[in-house]
Amino acid sequence: MTINVADGLTAAAAPPVVRSRSGRAVRPAVWLSGLFLLLVLAWAVIPTTFTSGTPFDTDIDAAVHAPSLQHWFGTDASGRDIYTRVVFGARSSLLIGVGATALALVTAIVFGFAAGLGGRFTDGLISRFLEVLLALPGLLLALVFIAVLGPGVSTDIVAVALGSAAGYAWMVRGQVIAVKDSGYVSAATALGHKRSRIIVRHVFPNAMRPLVVLATMGVGQSIVWSSSLSFLGLGVAPPAPEWGAMLDAGRDFVSTAWWLELFPGLAIVGCTLSVTVLGRHLQRRLEGRLT
């Protein structure tokens, strides 16, 4: 996760010239990404409109069938329709992706603001704590957490959030400090505004600005994470449909039945890619207007 944060940081520092040029080129990609995410959102909210079956319908006679008109994405080892399972899998993937990012952000804001606005002692304490967390691989933290509490959607959310919160918190802290020392905060102080008013009106919105973009991209990252956990058998328990778990289940058939891996894999990649494209688009828009 730390790598992701760093990636976002360097992207934020990209020169504005690139923006105007690629701004036009990226248009169709933005549209496609938006459409794809809408589709996935629809899958998650009303899966039954997209498929007549349920993700648990087994048909042993039709086990491991290649994609056909009847089974668009083929069937798995128990004869379950992969298309149906991908559609139904959207819900838990999105839930974990958005939920984990939201939880990570809230935690990060609390710690980041406390460190950035607190005194030297508070800042030192939180900073050292964050440094320790950042030194540990995020996946390891998540694994330990799941090992203690057992797998499940809510545990997944907390585990993924735990793994990424430290990176965000570090960023929030940096932003808060930068804004706190800015000319406009100093000007507001000189105008005689209260500290609380300055924090609400200036520090919070300006410190959060770059985070909007990072969080959008973070959703994609969280989906990958939750899928990784499921792939390791630590996420959503089978037979519940979940893209990572489906990848795990298809692992043994990868040389004979490619569709078991391809379609859930495409769903993960598609989601992550779309979210990232939208995030970058958002970033360009915001920066073009404000810096």
Partner: protein, 554 residues
Amino acid sequence: MTSLLHVEDLTVAFGDRDPVVRGVSFEVAPGECLAIVGESGSGKSVTARTLLGLAGAGSRVDATSLELQGTPLLHNGDRDWRRIRGRQVGFVLQDALVSLDPLRTVGHEIGETLRLHRYGSRKLRRARVLELLTAVGVPEPELRARQLPHELSGGQRQRALIASAIALDPPLLIADEPTTALDVTIQAQILDLLRAMKDRGTGLVLISHDLSVVSRLADRVAVMRDGSFVEQGTFADVLTSPGHPYTQTLLDAVPAAHRKGTRLSGTTLRIPEELDVPVADGRRADLPPDGVLLSADGLVKRFRGPDGVERTAVADVSLRIGVGETLGIVGESGSGKTTTARLALALLTPDEGTVTLAGEPWSQLTEAKRRARRWQISAIYQDPLSSFDPRWTVRRIVEDALPGLLYPDGAARRRRTAELLADVGLAEEHADRRPLLLSGGQRQRVAIARALAPEPALIVCDEPVSALDVTIQAQVLDLLADLQQRLGLSYLFISHDLGVIQHVADRVLVMRDGRIVESGTAAAIFSSPQDPYTRQLLASLPAAQATPQPILGG
């Protein structure tokens, strides 16, 4: 007189847009200095860069003739240009810290030019580097050659940059704002250096927005505006009898001794004659009986640097500002001017000494107690853009500074904001824009409107015009003078620019290394300075006079 550089009808355009340089013609002879003067966006830098084949990506360069020592340059390819740069044309840029590679030693940087043009052996090159550093007056050249750019002072860096530009003794030197980033005393040294090179026969194209810098060097002047030369001629002719109204505007805009108390900008601002400033009961009323608005006694402020060493930014500074008075503080970078301003504003708390505002304690109060009285003193900052929340529109910025008690409802706030914007010469249409989309002068007007909003008695102006072009600077200075006259404001006016201080200040403090070295009325300080440092500062001040000044040792 044989011509070194011959340019006829030079036009430069970017992409499909209108040309930024339109049909410019000039000549430079050996040992002659042509100054191209103009404001930002006039096309002077593009002109300079075109002479080196550096006009930039997507540029279309066209000319009837573009010749250096009789060799046409117009159809040069990259290889041809690389041969010319450094050997035949040297280039000195504004900011040496940006122009020098931060990871290479100064000696390596200068030697690079020599190496690229296959100058002598390694040993010979090293000797030449030392020779060059000595020639441009860098002290301890052997030590400096081994240091990285950031280890040198600003003046030394600029000298090193000049050394690399003249390494191969090019017959033509192009200097694009070579002293703009420097303090006046260092500026004087660099100008002396360039002058010495000119005397040795180097042709010089000097790009500057600053007429007083030009006056020290130029034989001929070209005044540039919107991509064309509006006027070109010998230095004396252009400055004593300008033939074009724009040249006159430029000259008028320069604050100088004989123009004190007069308007600098010809334009009349659209300010209503009767400035409608409601004075609330108990606000303006509690002016101090003794007439002293702000006084500071024995201020000391120390900062701990990143290396843990404590540095005294302000040492024993005392000052007094009366009602309706302008106190100017002048000094070079690092002299403690801005720290003094922040102490006056109580954005910093002094380590020793006290600040008293309107006869009552100020610096000793807690921030909570100060807050209620902050309206009495407001501020205008050097970089207005960074003093505005980037998300806010002009209207919101000004409204935010209005005193809540006087303007409790939205309609009143809106009306008052519109009034204030009109007062500083901004139109209604500017109110809903973000400052980012305004010009430098407009931004500073917004900053002034914000400073006026709390209806203060004193405004601290920290380098309010240093980022502005000279004509815009003139308008802003005029605006501040108008407002002072009508509202009875006092100013604490901080600037590194002696001309500006001389123009605006009633009394002047000269600061150096955190101390006040001299204080007195503006007339006394500028006519008969007592302190050696003040004298040195004044000697370095390039006065815009028709005859180039004799060089004074800096």
